[in-house]
Symmetry: D3
Subunit: 322 residues, 6 copies
Amino acid sequence: MTESWLRTPEWSWNRMSSGCEFVHQWVKPLKEGVSHPDVIIYGAPISRSSISVSGASLYPDEFRKMWKKFATYNLEEDVDLSTLKVIDAGDVVMHTTDILLSHQHIEEATSFLVGEYPGSTTCMIGGDHSVTACAVRGIKKEFPNERIGILQLDTHLDVRDPKELGPANGTPIRQLIDGDVVQGKHVVNIGLHGYYNGKSLIDYAKEKEIQMVPLKKARKQGIIETAQSSLQYLAENVDRIYVTVDMDVLDISAAPGVPASTTGGLMPNELFEVLLEIGKHPLVKHIDFVCLDPSRDSLVEETVKIGVHAWLQFMTGRTFRG
Amino acid sequence: MTESWLRTPEWSWNRMSSGCEFVHQWVKPLKEGVSHPDVIIYGAPISRSSISVSGASLYPDEFRKMWKKFATYNLEEDVDLSTLKVIDAGDVVMHTTDILLSHQHIEEATSFLVGEYPGSTTCMIGGDHSVTACAVRGIKKEFPNERIGILQLDTHLDVRDPKELGPANGTPIRQLIDGDVVQGKHVVNIGLHGYYNGKSLIDYAKEKEIQMVPLKKARKQGIIETAQSSLQYLAENVDRIYVTVDMDVLDISAAPGVPASTTGGLMPNELFEVLLEIGKHPLVKHIDFVCLDPSRDSLVEETVKIGVHAWLQFMTGRTFRG
Amino acid sequence: MTESWLRTPEWSWNRMSSGCEFVHQWVKPLKEGVSHPDVIIYGAPISRSSISVSGASLYPDEFRKMWKKFATYNLEEDVDLSTLKVIDAGDVVMHTTDILLSHQHIEEATSFLVGEYPGSTTCMIGGDHSVTACAVRGIKKEFPNERIGILQLDTHLDVRDPKELGPANGTPIRQLIDGDVVQGKHVVNIGLHGYYNGKSLIDYAKEKEIQMVPLKKARKQGIIETAQSSLQYLAENVDRIYVTVDMDVLDISAAPGVPASTTGGLMPNELFEVLLEIGKHPLVKHIDFVCLDPSRDSLVEETVKIGVHAWLQFMTGRTFRG
Amino acid sequence: MTESWLRTPEWSWNRMSSGCEFVHQWVKPLKEGVSHPDVIIYGAPISRSSISVSGASLYPDEFRKMWKKFATYNLEEDVDLSTLKVIDAGDVVMHTTDILLSHQHIEEATSFLVGEYPGSTTCMIGGDHSVTACAVRGIKKEFPNERIGILQLDTHLDVRDPKELGPANGTPIRQLIDGDVVQGKHVVNIGLHGYYNGKSLIDYAKEKEIQMVPLKKARKQGIIETAQSSLQYLAENVDRIYVTVDMDVLDISAAPGVPASTTGGLMPNELFEVLLEIGKHPLVKHIDFVCLDPSRDSLVEETVKIGVHAWLQFMTGRTFRG
Amino acid sequence: MTESWLRTPEWSWNRMSSGCEFVHQWVKPLKEGVSHPDVIIYGAPISRSSISVSGASLYPDEFRKMWKKFATYNLEEDVDLSTLKVIDAGDVVMHTTDILLSHQHIEEATSFLVGEYPGSTTCMIGGDHSVTACAVRGIKKEFPNERIGILQLDTHLDVRDPKELGPANGTPIRQLIDGDVVQGKHVVNIGLHGYYNGKSLIDYAKEKEIQMVPLKKARKQGIIETAQSSLQYLAENVDRIYVTVDMDVLDISAAPGVPASTTGGLMPNELFEVLLEIGKHPLVKHIDFVCLDPSRDSLVEETVKIGVHAWLQFMTGRTFRG
Amino acid sequence: MTESWLRTPEWSWNRMSSGCEFVHQWVKPLKEGVSHPDVIIYGAPISRSSISVSGASLYPDEFRKMWKKFATYNLEEDVDLSTLKVIDAGDVVMHTTDILLSHQHIEEATSFLVGEYPGSTTCMIGGDHSVTACAVRGIKKEFPNERIGILQLDTHLDVRDPKELGPANGTPIRQLIDGDVVQGKHVVNIGLHGYYNGKSLIDYAKEKEIQMVPLKKARKQGIIETAQSSLQYLAENVDRIYVTVDMDVLDISAAPGVPASTTGGLMPNELFEVLLEIGKHPLVKHIDFVCLDPSRDSLVEETVKIGVHAWLQFMTGRTFRG
């Protein structure tokens, strides 16, 4: 800029300052060639596979735009996140109307990333919950001999029948179990509560030995303790843990931007505590955050802010690994 | 429908599916002639008797429309609600401008239902809080020799003077006490807090020995324990318990659809726990839910959802009776 | 209902009253077997084929629910709509994730209806704009030797390339032209304005001889006169006219529930005038209304109300045919 | 105030400044004893007589609070309103639950004011439309030998049957006609349009010779000309004219704070033009503004602003009288 | 990007595509060194000088972000805007609390730009209306011997006394007149209406011979004709014309994002027509758009969209100059 | 008022009733000359010193308007607040554009009040957080030999550099420390959490020995205990305690009207408990509440309600002092 009273406009804000105090200054694009990243982020912007209307496809962009409002320093844990190397691999390319092709892209992109960066933790930003089945299949393809366990934070079981609905967002866990990618007993669901799963789905879950930890029970034994014991159970039975966070696990009063959220759900602070524990566990190699629809968020974008905060809690935990 | 790609439109949705997994499939209209129902629902859609502007008259309809989003299975208690027989007796007919006549209809409809189905638990869906006085009078007419106790969940005492206001929504408890239908000492109010009752009303309550359990005290001794000891106190002193839930007992941050809600109120999960206990108690034969104004609710209708969830918690408790 | 102070609940409201003064009392379900209906309504509830996030799939239901707020008497024209026989054939069955299958259902359902009721005018309620291509193909299948003209009220040309996007909502007119179902010169678009079509799309339209009538020109020569001359042009060149109303033709200030609406668009009264003229024309045998997303509407549902009013204007015009 | 950096708080804002440039500085309370006022304002804050939920009872207060945002100078007409003497007589006292008593108060207060200040023009601020019947009866009581004509700006006829609904807001015109207070042929309704009056109501209006001027016709002959010819018609047939403005005559896109407004209605500028003409006419001795519900208004309170602007247009016209 | 199913994230969207069909692809940053630009854009993001709370400082960024939704082709005029060379000089640097310094920056930046690019048309994007006084002074400094005329589109005169308020947004025109930068008779204000300017301000305007064209008069003689005759009047009396568009000239129903907008204002289409004329006039060398507060806009951002559309209308007119 | 059915309008509501049950009846204007008040309220309505857009300048008025919805009786503590004498000194006079002058007014007004009423507790209602530095300097001027301690409830440290930003709302604590008015070790901040302070600010705080009590730690040791031990720490080290409550310490889900609130913050009930303890402590002689922007509040004004409730909790504690 030639004159000092003029400043380059917003469109290049994220490279504007030279510091590293804020998240948007810390995360680097994949093309900058950071070697051995600790964490890789990528977006899966699809929600036309959602049973009900959803704009979760808009979340990856809104997630990134919100970064500049967050510092990289966690005051409560006295931890500086910027000691971790994080790259953003961008978004998986989606087709406008061919859902199967889009799903295949997610699967292939995930395979590529976990193959190319086997030492990195992947964070996929959805998109509706259908993307989880794609990502897990992509990982399985790269590591066919490993048992994959799933820690699911969700109000719903997501075991509706893909034969009826296709690969929609109500079906990912069933796709993986019926497709022999993951065993039912290697799925732990924390966050179930209330009256939000029909009896036939509960029957399926019981039959497949999905480990259901209703929220009332989790609260009685302690939310953190529940996370820890669930991780330990999985660690004893599988080779790698995939964590999927359906943001509808949050209580409806706290998360207007998650259309499927219900009353009686997890409070944000509970979610933050759980993610800190999850971040610490060495077997957790993959995490996704799904079903957050920014187009339904409040004017102050509180749900997107919870989304970024939640991810940073996972990152804080991640710094505690050896 | 003649062709398979065409489906009957929405207007008959509630009979569309043959299953019984969702609440709208479970509850039967009175005219279907279910015998010996466990529970009877009826609406009292009036709110022009409210001191401040209220659309609580719209709640009975919105309450029913929301049923299809709730399953009949309670995952946290592992209970199947559909073991209970529930009928919907419809709405009490209201006059457009004659408030006294409308109130009389509520009284008569209640008398009819409790007389016709003495073994059933009644759930009245308001309407503003004026309807409670009508219903209790209707019950008293059928059971003149029984002492009726009231368990009130409310931010307010509702003992303003009907001589000044007429039978408005700020007066029901005083109507019943001054009218010798219920004794002051047989009224327990849980949920009072903050700065929302003037000194003269508190003086009246003390004089009439209304049992006031402010929220701070209830939280100190445990919300569930407070519910249990309140029920026990009433059980030792009355013949039947009428529970009235003024939804303004909820904290304003959780319940935008209750215009009179305040800060410092009950959180939804606290209400849910209390209602589970209330549902279990054999002497609780009547319950109402009042003052929820759907026209003020948020776009995601969170308050109506809390309303249905709250009622289902009562129903879950109800399944635990012998 | 056994007692007079109780009324059957809302879920059967549409059969509650015996009169015929309101729209929900006037329109009959297909299964009631009305013979020789003047008009047939059917819904095409799909919007996962939309390029941007859309809840237009919710419109058919909201359209019907709004009927009870509209009388069948048009005071301005002194016309009683109830002289027309109208049936509602319900909604085309959609698959949750298979967009191509859903589109095929729309095509087949349309073929069935226009074949079974050749003398009736069809009104399809979308859905996003992709449904128009399906419907026109369905009609063409039944009347392969007829030239079909399209009168399009739209802010956009909708001639993006289906080779790139698949059968998405930006492509229907191009699908029909490139697929030799309709000739470019038999498409008249009224409502184009401003800066909402890229140059390459305008080049395509010019090449294919699409008749573009920008809004400024239409207003200069009179909106009604524009409608009349457009209809006359088509009448002289085709055998039947299909009208497609993309609700995004409306000005953004009037239609919050149409996500793609823009500033500078048609005002509701202008749309109403045009539809009255269209309704009168004997060659107009099909009409659709698309892209209205009720989930984005204002609290007073003004866009859905405009949608019903617009359809009734067409119906008023329809009564003027011989 | 003792120190110059401290200012008396808001609660006395309306007496804060000594000027007379704004409306709140211009209008004087009745108790200040202004003699021979040109115009008298009074509020009728009732809306529990409304068929549907309404907060129109809140309008008189919001109307007054908005005054400070309006200057007393009309730039377009180059007129200084402060040449008129205006007093505010306050609000009619309402009972909380006794609608008939409240209505009687309106009637008596109106009688008192028109009797005490026969040379003044009265402006009543409602309230729902039921208040008009009360006010006209109150005037008739003072001037029993005068024929009263009504100029009604309204989307609805308001001739529903008081035998069925009581004195609700859908009935005032019929109350007056059936009660022989006003003759049907002395009622002119401008603003009727669309599909918002059932056939039976239109039949009643025709039978009673209510002069219906649908909006389409009014626009064709000119809105101002319609107002003028309607006033002239009344002036030739009655002794005094009462104007009632149901704010639901406004188009829904412009007036979110009028729950019953519809699409196709009067645009604010059209209303403003009409009111200027009405204000000029010497036989117009009374006007009311009803059915504006501030609790439904937009955040920028645009409907209340339209309400004040509309009243000021009437006042501008009033300055043109000799 | 290494793999084809991954796409660079949003943060560099504006360079993502290679075409030039959309506005964000057309406008070039100043640093790219475009020579002899036809038009220069720069932002003046300040609104703490506003009398009432305003977030107009956020507009320059939101203005630019909206560009990607607008094509460069004007369909109504059949004009391709991309024939013009446009550069974006970025935002003037503002101090957080020193308003005078910020204002000085605007003045200096404007001087720099008009001095460096004397043949270019400047478009300043505010900010509140205080920025206009700064810009005009900056121009005057570069061209001290030229008479500057102002064409103001505004609901207000903006001649409040800077002696009392400092250089606030209610004072710019008076600053310029009292400061002998511009003569009162060289200011033409179109858009004044209603009751939004106190008598003392009107007296000042009359005394200084400000040319006031109230909206009613403008509409009577034709909005376009009014614009043309105003431009002609100025062209006959000054050397260069500065146009300032206070977006509060828009009607409140169309522009929720302008806190000071009022009822009775300019409709967007009227503004668009006027700006087309203004763009054509060779003496118009500067334009600004002020007082649009994106933080108050509706969810669909209709006011920002109007803002971009309005600017493009000016640009369309600009293409018609020789 | 001459006739009994007419009531004086709203503009004098606060003197309407003779009782003392509500807050607006209890607080007296300074000019009424109450001697030896226990508590003095004054407003500091400025927010143009805020870094981001803020309407906190509107809070003092909205705070007072809300009083009439609060009773003076605290039911949970069984305490009658009206035993305290409270005066409202009005608002500090602000200049429209001269921020430094406005700040100086706050300083002088505070000096005047604490000098004139040395035995009273002062409550300043902001305004943005810049006002705290002014008030503390004003107190220091009157009591130059006393050490002032600050108990800060805040999500942020507010130690950004005034050399860069001027006396903006991000700088007050640093102004006071760098200005030698308060020592860093005499500042205790409760409420810090998450990722909302950059590392360089935390480094400054550590260097200056600001006592940081992150929320997680506070919750672990008990919120009340944290308040008590913080007050005790200050009591042992300073002569008087100034409490500053930045309302952005509240969780974003509870406080929509605080633009800078974040997720993970204090819940209202936690704040209420803390303020009760603070009110009790004899060394707390000053308190302020800042950064609440009523123009961003929800329709039910829940944040303003929390603001009044919070202040009343402090007042309740105040009654417990000897």
